[in-house]
Symmetry: C2
């Protein structure tokens, strides 16, 4: 039934809901709280139905749904039919293998909104409990690329991507990317904003410059500089990913097959032909054992082979935060210090190791000599120079100094309750505390560590500082310190907190 | 934050949504389309958030959510926290075993509304792909009982339950229950309304009498008669079931562990101590092979042992519709004819076989002689007499005659296109056609078969009639006949419709 569209002023976010009169619902055999199909030209989406006495013979919807449907004057509302993709999801749940066409059908329906979150949750669940083989992961990646925008550059495209999970990691790319670009290797890095971490690379880069660009602006940027770090969210690359991540986040799951396809699809959409994947390994990282990292590296390699993508994997240490700073502004400051020749050794080492592997892939450095080359570039000041050019091209202040970067105006210190050696600085508590303080939304919020594992401390020494622009948030973060014990000192907590031992 | 409740006139059905102002959302750190917790006294539920400029400092909700929360004057709205039960669902998805407490936590959160459909979908998916062992199924059943109302009767309680899936089956209980009750065996049968079938037992019984009673009325009913057939939906028995079924229906899945727990929890909630399960086996039934039926019977038996429930399983033939009538009124008429001494042999045989097994369980008939006893009761007219008493006690007309039962006022006949033997009458097409005609909502709608598998027909003989109170629905049902080929005749369709051969 064709109905005129009427807007409601309610902001419903991602919730797809239409309001129709009782009479129209009856004519269409729709029930309140049930589902319907809304069709506007070639766009079709599944929505929930609410009854609104004032809707008359119109269909009322939120601005965001109206936008999603391409701002139609009228839409066709029909009873909901179970789409065929649901039977493919069921097949996977039952342990079956999915064909390329079946996977494509699922992803297409994810992107268009034909599948609801309930059905997507079943697809994600099936990937976790049943899993996917290499062919399925290749098809999943391709389907995610093909249902979104694809950018093409004129030069060969290199990139670095960390699977994440370790706080403080966002600063590594900010050092590595300009180092690679300094060697005339093109590295147009798209990155994500934090979902569960205190700072995504995009959040940290945004401290220096705007990170949201249109596809045309990105192509322009590529004319000016050999690398940049932008947010991938505005480019419409592999849009299935954002929807799948939203459901994964609700379930707090991250199936390996979906993780691999998500990463590779975003990269393929950016025209990447040569990719370095960083897998941090350690307690409370995404991958906790070297064996697990090797398995994951092997999966990445096999899927990339199926996609014709040249890929290398670097397995790095991720058993505690990278460097000392956690949170966008604090990490931005630490990255800039590192580019300027200071900064923590661990950041310098990790950034040049990764950049070096890319230089080897690009043939700029011979195999085994990449890291040395990268370090020379960094120490010569060339990385800093390139970084300043990138910041300028992206619209930021190229002359920024570490002290220009504002951190949270409120601060508390956490001190050592006793003498001893630091036995652990734990990823999850640090992440939770930095987020409680307001990161990543509050760019100045986060944690600045003063110690790392193995350091010797005296009673009363500062172990870490917590920053925030909100006093109540800072108070909550401080409270979490005593609950979560983010840093332990030898002999201190072995019995009371077995979960961290 | 405590907020006054304000009602919206929108009917949102099962969709839990609150409307708050932008300011309140900001204060509470809530985003439109995201989730929040609403707490009213001991009741807590998870809701979606919508922004409504007119909400002021109130929280607006639909009548049904207000009802669910116990009609509170004000509620506490808080940011959504991931409940611990989500981690148990994740554990199951990862292949783990769930403890009694973990399962209880999931079911409690399903019932209270703390878990959303997305999380419930993951739980259902995990049951399908990972499965549950006997201990888990026992815990699941108990948790479903304990989170709902429980009725207790003074006499030992017997019951019959068919796992369903075969059209025309609802009439069997209507013959079997009064037969059991005639032998002074107490059988207070609760039954369901159709979800995917053309008629649930409750839908068919409702043709004779009201089927919705309160718990007190049910206890009263039990004083008057030794058996009855009512709808379980109004009694608050195992309320988790309705919610889980709603999600299963969206995914079109029916995991064995959930099916067993659903059936047994409803029965335990009615105080059933002795249960006969009917498993129909055949093409296009829920269970297609005898081996599958035996496996399912074994699972039912093991779970019942764990629950202290005495259980027998009858495996019956379900490869084509039971009897000739499909749809509430048509089945009601056929059931009454059977009680009156007529009716199809297959209905008489199945009903007395099942009733006989219950009589054996109750010690009324020696083992192996139950069916003979049941048949004597039926043929003596005692079943009919008891049925009329039951109908009267439930508020229906005890003197109803088959011709009093109104069937659809529109009718079409489907005729044989050629001479030959009927090679198949197929469950799924018959179900689809009867539902397209309007069953179960339109009580008079359905299919009346004239032939069953193996019958000999001549060209032009009537194969089946379709009834409906709606002319357009009847037309659609008729169209489906040519698409779905519900009845095949030897030599007729082998090549064009291989899927039915």
């Amino acid at each position: 039934m064709k109905l005129k569209v009427d807007l409601v002023k309610n902001d419903l976010g991602e919730l797809r809901l239409i309001f129709i009169s009782k009479e129209i619902a009856k004519e269409l055999d729709l029930i309140p709280g049930g589902k319907a199909r809304v069709i506007a030209g070639s766009k079709e989406t599944t929505v929930y139905v609410a009854i609104d006495g004032d809707a008359g013979r119109n269909v009322r919807m939120s601005e965001s749904l109206y936008e999603k449907l391409g701002r139609p004057r009228e839409v066709d509302v029909k009873p909901h039919l179970i789409p065929p993709s649901v039977s493919f999801i069921r097949k996977k749940l039952g342990g079956g293998k999915l064909s390329k066409d079946e996977i494509y059908s699922i992803i297409k329906d994810v992107v268009s909104g034909v599948l609801t979150d309930v059905e997507i949750a079943a697809f994600v669940s099936a990937q976790l409990s049943v899993g996917m083989d290499i062919n399925e992961m290749v098809s999943l990646t391709k389907a995610m690329v093909e249902t979104g925008n694809v950018l093409r550059f004129e030069k060969p495209v290199y990139d670095i991507h960390s699977i994440g999970g370790v706080p403080g990691n966002s600063k590594v790319s900010i050092v590595a990317v300009p180092t690679v670009a300094s060697a005339e290797v093109f590295i147009p890095k798209t990155s994500s904003r934090a979902i569960t971490s205190p700072a995504g690379t995009a959040d940290t880069m945004e401290v220096f410059a705007p990170v949201e660009f249109t596809a045309d602006e990105v192509l322009e940027l590529a004319q000016k500089v050999n690398g940049f770090i932008i947010w991938g969210g505005t480019l419409g690359l592999a849009p299935a990913d954002d929807i799948l991540i939203r459901v994964e986040y609700q379930l707090r799951v991250d199936p390996v097959s979906q993780m691999i396809a998500s990463i590779l699809s975003k990269k393929l959409s950016m025209g990447v032909q040569n990719l370095l994947i960083d897998i941090p390994v350690g307690r409370e990282a995404k991958v906790e054992s070297l064996e697990g990292a090797r398995n994951l590296a092997s999966l990445f390699t096999q899927v990339s082979d199926g996609l014709g993508l040249s890929l290398r994997v670097g397995i790095t240490y991720g058993g505690q935060p990278i460097g000392y700073a956690v949170g966008p502004a604090l990490e931005a400051r630490e990255a800039l210090e590192t580019l300027m020749g200071g900064g923590p050794t661990s950041v310098k080492e990790k950034a040049t190791a990764l950049a070096g592997l890319v230089l080897e892939m690009a043939g700029v450095a011979p195999k085994g000599a990449g890291k040395k080359t990268a370090k020379e570039i960094l120490l010569s000041g060339k990385s800093l120079e390139t970084f300043r050019k990138i910041v300028e091209a992206m619209g930021g202040n190229p002359d920024v100094k570490p002290d220009d970067i504002e951190v949270g105006k409120h601060k508390v210190e956490v001190r050592a309750p006793m003498d001893g050696y630091v036995t652990g600085v734990y990823n999850r508590p640090i992440t939770t505390i930095a987020r409680a303080a307001g990161a990543p939304i509050d760019k100045g919020a986060g944690v600045l560590l003063h110690v790392k594992r193995g350091h010797k401390v005296k009673e009363g020494d500062v172990l870490m500082e917590i920053y925030s622009n909100s006093a109540p948030r800072l108070q909550e973060a401080q409270r979490l310190v005593s609950v979560l014990k983010p840093i332990t000192i030898e002999g201190m907590l072995l019995e009371t907190y077995p979960e961290y031992m």
